[in-house]
């Protein structure tokens, strides 16, 4: 059977076909290849030829040529277009020309570095050349570190290791820094917002150390499709980066389908659930034998889909003892388990993988026949990234988006032009954010005394920041230089990411009673791990934790020791816990009454899991509930808040106030990143219809980073501009009553959210004395077309 048959079935299926909103077939693109640039070492090109790459694609040749000429480049081409060769070839070439030459690879995760090490190693072995490659991360043994530092030609690491372990100890890495020719940054689109601003500062520090040791490396960056790859790469590296985006890789016929599940209750407007609908479609592909990747929005959904798909035709091994053809894949699986699943995807023994966005990044799993996206992943970039996983080189592929019932999903599925026509999100960063820059300036001074002629290279506020750091007693000026004057190790005080550091380990103790720590029954074994916030929801006492379709009952969650003790069960239900997120103002730093009550300060965001439901498999009916007894988790951060003007609220019906509040909040969340040069994921929105702090209907924009990087204050100080941009955007938006780009899709028809919000903005503008002239703002960051 083939993909063609599956496509045929979908098109004619009595229940599915009527609910297909859009079916587009994107045309075939033939391969465009050229000769390798002159003078490349034949051992490498020969090895590539033996591995099937006789002639490079146009973009590969262009990238190799630019890199060899020392021009900084960013390569932006579709998934599976051979991006890796764009940096592997020039790096190996430079090492073969000069065996002292070194290269540094940065990947956003350890797993990707391991993946690339493996691939690079195979090519080196095939080419029979003496090039030493190492990963350098938290797992590298102290014994191995010495040889990585001195002997490694290519060091594969991540920005976090560069920040805390390599740069502060650069005197141990003299060989690397004296001879560094290339810095490779893969997945550059992940470095945006606060994280990207941190990484940009780390790169400034890196280039400084290179200058000190007399090397001037060339950047080779790779990115998935974003609106502004060259701009982002330029901001990150501080260099004018050349864009290579004309892909010469072949693409087969691509079918992209938008699917809106059928209405099952017309009176209440309820549609068939996204899990069931995703199962419906995936099972057809599974039965047809097509290798399929199914994306599910949450970890629970991954496990439910894995369970259901195993019950469908083709879901069980052909003969007993064979590996299961359907696998789950998500964070929380142990690394070895994940590597095994990736490998069996590549060798074809696994036919269907159900994954969260953990598989979105460039983990090498080869090309697949089809990709099913169950539920809108939140951004268009993610949607296309997930859809783009389908497609073997030059062969036909299928991508299906299955909409959920939320307003955002419904908007997307009903507006094909929004999906196809358009735009993907831009990657914005602000390396000069004072708080972020200050943290890295401390690190920079620690690494090498900062001379006065270096200020510009370290960011626009350097002089002012140094002054403040001196006043704080952290640095000492002597001569024209600033010296570190503190016993602290500054790199350890700042983490580049917000990610939760603590994990709960899940232990299968085989059903033996758990009496106390250290009570180890013989069957105890670790089956997975889970980050702390999610643990509250997934492995609380009495939860049914599902791992690769296997059910475990959680006997006890030891919140102190961060361990969950579970045992295998076989029940007909799963559990679903509710997390309540609450926001409280701890400290108001400033407030203003006009145009409307606003303020900024420190807030405490509390997460509390209270109840869980038991839900029957397949029918999804509620069959019971229980209490969760866990302490709440607190996070302190910075926030900006804004209340609706009193005159709009007085005498207004509650539904209107609520609608206006949600609309205003959504609009501000869309606009704020433009002002802050940050990523939408750096900010969260909380709505309080009657805020205990302002005593008014209030929107809160708070930072995801614990402690914050000063966004609350920035928004407060610039609120005139924020509101002006918001109004400009809203008035220019052509949607009838709300869309994801402005106030959000309407929760119900006829709310007139757009009108309400415009009204509110007018009232606020009218009383703002220092209102900035309204700038013209593009309706959305429309800069690139995905399928170009």
């Amino acid at each position: 059977m083939s993909l063609e048959q599956a496509i045929q079935q979908l098109r004619t299926h009595l229940e599915i076909a009527p609910n297909i909103v859009e079916w587009r077939v994107l045309p075939v693109e033939p391969a465009r290849t050229v000769e390798w640039p002159e003078g490349l070492d034949q051992r490498v090109t020969g090895a590539l030829a033996r591995r099937g790459v006789m002639r490079p694609y146009t973009h590969q040749a262009a990238a190799v040529e630019a890199a060899l000429a020392g021009r900084d480049t960013v390569v932006v081409t579709p998934t599976a277009s051979g991006k890796t060769l764009c940096y592997t070839v020039p790096v190996l070439e430079s090492i073969l020309r000069d065996s002292d030459a070194r290269a540094l690879y940065l990947f956003p995760t350890k797993a990707l570095a391991q993946d690339q090490l493996h691939e690079l190693h195979e090519l080196i072995t095939e080419a029979e050349i003496d090039v030493k490659t190492f990963t350098y991360d938290g797992d590298t043994s102290p014994a191995a570190r010495r040889s990585v530092r001195t002997a490694g030609h290519v060091v594969l690491t991540n920005p976090d290791m560069l920040h805390t372990a390599i740069l502060p100890h650069h005197t141990k890495w003299v060989r690397l820094f004296e001879n560094l020719r290339y810095i490779v940054i893969d997945e550059i689109h992940t470095y945006r917002g606060v994280f990207g601003s941190h990484v940009a500062n780390v790169l400034r520090r890196l280039l400084r150390i290179c200058r000190f040791y007399g090397s001037e490396p060339t950047f080779i960056c790779c990115s998935a499709t974003i609106a502004n790859p060259a701009e982002l790469a330029t901001e990150l590296t501080g260099r004018a980066v050349e864009l290579v985006d004309d892909s010469g890789a072949p693409r087969g016929e691509r079918h992209v389908v938008l699917y809106n599940p059928p209405v099952v209750n017309a009176e209440l407007g309820i549609r068939r659930g996204v899990i069931k609908s995703t199962t419906d479609i995936s099972s057809i592909l599974q039965a047809a034998g097509s290798q399929t990747l199914v994306f599910a929005g949450s970890r629970t959904n991954v496990e439910l889909l894995t369970t259901y798909l195993r019950e469908e035709p083709g879901g069980q091994p052909a003969n007993a003892g064979a590996p299961p053809p359907v696998r789950g894949y998500r964070s929380g699986y142990l690394p070895t388990e994940r590597r095994a699943i990736e490998a069996s995807l590549r060798d074809g023994s696994v036919r269907t993988v159900v994954a969260t966005n953990a598989l979105e990044l460039g983990i090498d799993i080869g090309g697949l026949d089809a990709s099913i996206v169950g539920g809108y992943p939140g951004t268009l970039a993610s949607l296309w990234q997930q859809a783009g996983r389908a497609g073997r080189r030059g062969e036909a592929s299928l991508a299906v988006f299955v909409a959920g019932s939320g307003p955002l999903d419904q908007y997307v599925v009903n507006h094909p032009d929004y999906v196809f026509g358009a735009s993907v999100e831009a990657g914005l960063i602000d390396p000069d954010n004072p708080l972020i820059a200050a943290e890295h300036l401390k690190c920079a001074v620690f690494e090498l005394p900062v001379a006065s002629d270096e200020h510009a290279a370290l960011g626009e506020h350097t002089a002012a920041l140094l002054e403040a750091l001196e006043a704080g007693g952290l640095i000492h000026f002597a001569g024209e230089r600033a010296y570190w004057m503190n016993e602290a190790y500054p790199a350890e005080e700042v983490s580049l990411r917000t990610g939760a550091e603590q994990n709960v380990v899940i232990v299968d103790h085989g059903g033996a009673p758990v009496r106390h720590e250290g009570d180890r029954s013989q069957a105890a074994r670790v089956i997975g791990e889970i980050d702390r916030p999610a643990a509250m929801l997934l492995v609380h006492d009495e939860a049914i934790y599902v791992h690769d379709g296997r059910q475990y009952h959680v006997d006890r969650l030891d919140w102190e020791e961060l361990k969950a003790y579970v045992h295998r069960v076989d029940v007909d239900y799963y559990t679903d816990a509710h997390l309540s997120v609450d926001l409280k103002v701890i400290d108001e730093w400033d407030t203003r009454e006009l145009p409307s009550t606003s303020g900024h300060g420190e807030v405490a965001v509390t997460y509390l899991a209270t109840l869980f439901k038991k839900i029957r498999l397949h029918t999804h009916e509620n069959i019971g509930w229980g209490k969760i007894r866990l302490p709440q988790d607190d996070m302190h951060t910075s926030a900006f808040w804004l209340a609706l003007p009193d005159e709009l609220v007085i005498d207004a019906p509650t539904s209107k106030v609520g609608g206006a509040l949600h609309g205003l909040g959504q609009l501000l969340v869309n606009v704020a990143p433009l002002l802050l040069m940050s990523d939408p994921r750096d900010l969260q929105l909380s709505i309080q219809v009657k805020s205990p702090h302002t005593e008014r209907p209030t929107v809160f924009l708070w930072e995801v980073v614990p402690g914050g990087v000063g966004f609350g204050e920035h928004l407060f100080e610039d609120q005139g501009r924020l509101l002006a941009i918001a109004r400009g955007l809203l008035e220019a938006c052509e949607c009838p009553d709300g869309c994801p780009a402005c106030v959000g899709p309407p929760a119900a028809p006829g709310l007139e959210v757009k009108t309400l919000v415009i009204e509110a903005l007018k009232v606020m503008a009218a009383v703002t004395s220092d209102a900035a002239p309204e700038p013209e703002v593009e309706a959305a960051p429309v800069l690139a077309t995905v399928w170009s």
């Binding site: 943290e439 002012a464 403040a468 000492h476 190790y489 501009r721």
Partner: protein, 452 residues
Amino acid sequence: MALAREEAQTRSRADLTAIRARLRRLISDMERRGPKPVSALREVREAGRSRTTLEVFPDAVRRETSEGVCTYREVRYPLAFEVGEVPLTALAQVNGDLLDLLAPREELGESTLGDLWFLDIETTGLSGAGTLVFLVATARIENDEAGSAVVLRQYLAESPPEEAALLEALIEDGRFAEDPVLVTYNGRSFDAPMLDERATMHRRRAGLQGLRHLDLLHPTRLAFRGLLTSCRLGMVESEVLRMQRPSEDIPGAEVPAWYFQFLRVGDARMLRPIVEHNELDVVGMTGLLAWLAVGVQQQAPASNDRAARDALAVGRLLSARGRASEAVRHLERSICLGRSERRADVVVLEQGLLLLAAIHKRDEQRERAAELWHRALELPASAPLTPLLELAMYYEHQRRQFDLAIELAERARYHIERWLHPRDPVRGGRALMEIEHRLSRLQLRAKHARSG
């Protein structure tokens, strides 16, 4: 979007003063969140105007190098000087044989006293490129018209940039011998790599890690681990050398804070405690080497309340270096001086008995070993497992007194069950299996012996 950025930039250029104010706030917030500064310094009590280093240290000079100027001083310690209770004259007994014993892998057999280069550094932190070396003390044993003496040299960076000159002066002075031998306390993992990395920071090469190196920490650990609260140099100085630090001496952990305070305030009186601390560290090291020379070589060192412990320490060191026949003399002396009133004395006596017994056992002198194990068993409040097991073996195999062996093995089993197993299930479990095995074999042999 591009517009928003442009705006942000215009704004920041336009209002630099406001930004400065905001930064100050942000940074003070940041500091409030960050770790607190080190504990408050003890105040320098003298009031009045600031003093310069040359005022505070009359023997100091400003020393010119190709890399700039640093502060430098020399202090001559005649060999008659006593470090605690140890006269430096004992250094005369240092020879190739002793050095070989202390650092067997360094091939120091041909080295002489004059090759030794004692060294200790003071830094602003523990690791990383932002840690400065601002003070170094070295010592060498030199002969001049006034006779032999330990000559101490100190190199001080009065400001961070002077570190370059400090290193340069140190590198110059390190050329005093063809093949100098570095003598440090934990310098193999700290002082030597740190100096080499600091040289890298100034684009120079120090090469200290390439020198032969006697790190006194290692033999000191072999000799004293478990006998002192810790093997830190200060502990060895006070407990072994009986060296008194002056009352104003500061703990090593406070050294960076004093230096930072000096940089801020510029009063060299704040340097005095650090400079003295650093000086005493190196003097302590010369004293320790002298002590080791006396301890290893002298026939009968002074008898005092620490003599048993010290003889045991020397015996342990010799034994660990494979020189058992020499160790025996020290161990016998330790046992002979040993007491059992205090707990610490019991530990010394017990360790001496067991180590000596082990040496005799290896030399096939089983009777003598058995006698020592019996003595160890009689000690009050000791840990009797080793002598019980050893004696059980002895009575089974050498004396064929199976009933006695059974009794000893049963006592051993009781101790394993009661004490070892609860604390260390892995070792305890294995020991239990072994003892059960031994017991059943013993029962069998005892039965055979009775019936036969």
